[in-house]
Symmetry: C2
Subunit: 409 residues, 2 copies
């Protein structure tokens, strides 16, 4: 008998029919003899419906009250799923985040889980009950309702799995696993049977939006065996592993991309210590998320600094930087919004040289100009003009032979 | 500075526009310098929408899960109203029933309030905040969400007013007060400026469905000054009082009616001790609410027993009684569903004789035959054929001169 935590997202519970289908899946798992905890999101569309009401009443709604409002979405789903399970003869109980003491900090709208008191869940499991828990939500120290931010239901599931020491945490979603690249761009992209935790972290942070990055971090911290699979079709999905396999690792596991990039270059800044923090501090203070940062030191004592920001933050960033540039004696600030980032990720990279040169050569072979490069131990990212993005992905997918299973690479 | 608890029902908060109108009313009260606690229901239609979803998933949904589901309705309203108050510059905080520790028993769907811990509400009031509370809901000892049953928001408001020692509890509804009779039947029915608690209890239990009867009982127990008024138009409404006025009371305050009555007569039962409980016990066990009960002892040692039940329970009651009648040696069981009950209510009745004879004479004058009579200290009820109901009400309203204020009666 295993203890399984399953999580079903908004599209998986988006209608009465879908909720019934999820109930059938849970019955199937329970009939295998497993102890079951099920975490669910709001029915798809519900959160937006509620936010629409809030927007009509107060366009600058207080985040505490927004959390009170949107947390009703998951509460509806837990009740409905429990009813569906009862109808199938299972003993089930629903709980809100507060009821199972998912304690968070008080950052409304993007709270972090501080602790979980799993006593009540364990008691129900011992009684043979299926426990149905509202994802995405918790309570702060004073009992105020908080939410974990979009995608936070994944984090709830993983945190609950960690607290319970679950044998597996299954994240059901609308894709049937993690692919070597976006199948809409690369038709022969391949679903991976398994992927290491570190690779998953890089892939999800880079735009392969299968799992919320915080949930992956959480899973890694507590070594929660995590599986991504489809709630719409049968299949084993992709398992995220922590132990490095004895077998030789593939050099490259997958290719991530993010089309939502803008590039900013500050030219010819007199190069003094502290320049980077003077430029980037105000950007961070404005809650703009700076991604790649590259500095080239020139020979004339001046330096160029280039970095990327989400495209929607380009205008605000440019305004902040124009002022700073004058202050710091820089020549000019140049922004370019039509950028995309492409990354190849793989733990095998560690033991194989030549990944970077192979990557750059493949792109050069198609005449794709690389604007920025950054590397980490298991990842190489390049920024290219967005118009080349799809071509670049397909080119790299072919160059690294990703449509074949690991052995053939 | 007074402490006021206001309650707004589903139609009063049924849309964004209505919620904004409620916020304006609360601002107005707050600007008078009053401390404000606001209790709200689910937006009208929302509870039925949720119950519809439940019905689609499990027609015999578990009452615990129904409570989890429908309690989201009020939670949406408290958040939206708080946002509307913020927009108007008021500091407001919303709370679910659980968050302000409205402790109930565990009878899901019709739980009773056991205690309220008002510490959190008082703390907010001291800080100048408007406290917005979800009506209709609480939590049991184990933290399970419970609901108080339809109309339970009135009870929440009254219980909160009692716990806080509020100066007034205002129940905003879609009528502008308590009338001497249903204005749809009696065009010149008059809104009462005030009414005693006992009269209100009789009137609300008899079908003048302005306030939920449990909330009136609760108000009486704790002597909560209660005012019924309209959320759609200005006006003082009707105040429910506890002290008997020094002034002479009007003989009759108002006329209540209930068209949803059926009459059952069990004929010629051998009259032995315990007959009543033998007949009515099984009816009560079937959760059928027996109202008027009348027994006539005949001269031949046999007795007739007549009573009224809600019309929708007539068939079930008849089936139960046919069996019992054979057992008890009764001659026959006769049911009649086309009945209505009309009651005249007034504390002044105590000190005036002749109310009953005046009532019966007035009805006789119009040729209306009385089927059953029952009396209490401040009420006389008659059952008549439903087709005479409106005529009977108008006749009595005129006979007791109710369109004139008390002094002229």
């Amino acid at each position: 008998m295993a203890l399984i935590v399953e999580k079903y997202g908004g599209t998986s519970v988006g209608s009465v029919e879908r909720i019934n289908a999820v109930a059938d899946k849970v019955v199937h798992s329970r009939n295998n003899g497993d102890e079951m905890v099920v975490v669910v999101s709001a029915m798809s569309g519900e959160t937006n419906r509620l936010l629409g009401l809030a927007g009509d009443i107060n366009p600058e709604a207080d985040s505490r009250e927004v959390d009170v409002l949107v947390s009703t979405g998951e509460q509806v789903t837990i009740a409905l799923l429990s009813m569906a399970l009862h109808r199938r003869g299972l003993d089930a109980r629903s709980y809100t985040g507060g009821q199972v003491h998912i304690r968070t900090d008080n950052t409304h709208g993007r709270a972090r889980i501080v602790e979980i008191d799993d006593a009540r869940v364990r008691r129900d499991l011992r009684k043979g009950r299926v426990v149905v828990i509202a994802g995405f939500q918790g309570v702060d120290e004073e009992g105020n309702i908080t939410t974990l931010g979009r995608g936070g239901s994944d984090t709830t599931a993983v945190a609950m799995a960690a607290a319970l020491g679950a044998d597996e945490c299954r994240i059901y979603t609308d894709v049937d696993g993690v692919y070597t690249a976006d199948p809409r761009i690369v038709p022969d992209a391949r679903r991976m049977e398994q992927i290491t935790f570190e690779e998953m972290l890089e892939l999800s942070s880079l735009g392969a939006k299968v799992l919320q990055i915080r949930s992956v971090e959480f899973a890694g911290k507590y070594k929660v065996p995590l599986r991504v699979l489809s709630s719409f079709e049968e299949g084993p999905g992709t398992l995220i592993t922590y132990e490095e396999s004895k077998m030789e690792q593939p050099m490259i596991s997958g290719i991530a991309h993010n089309a939502d990039e803008a590039k900013i270059t500050v030219r010819d800044i007199p190069d003094r210590p502290g320049i980077a923090s003077k430029l980037l501090g105000p950007i961070a203070d404005a809650h703009i998320n700076v991604d790649m940062i590259i500095q080239n030191v020139g020979t004339d004592g001046n330096t160029d600094m280039t970095f990327t920001v989400p495209r929607s933050d380009l205008v605000a960033s440019m305004e902040l930087l124009q002022e700073l540039a004058v202050e710091l004696g820089a020549k000019e600030v140049v922004g370019d919004e039509g950028m995309a980032k492409i990354s190849v990720v793989g733990v095998g990279m560690r033991s194989h040289s030549g990944v970077a040169s192979k990557m750059f050569a493949a792109l050069a072979g198609e005449g794709i100009n690389i604007q920025l490069i950054s590397t980490s131990e298991i990842k190489i990212s390049v920024v290219v003009e967005e118009k080349y993005m799809e071509l670049a992905i397909r080119t790299l997918h072919k160059a690294f032979n990703l449509s074949e299973a690991a052995a053939e690479q």
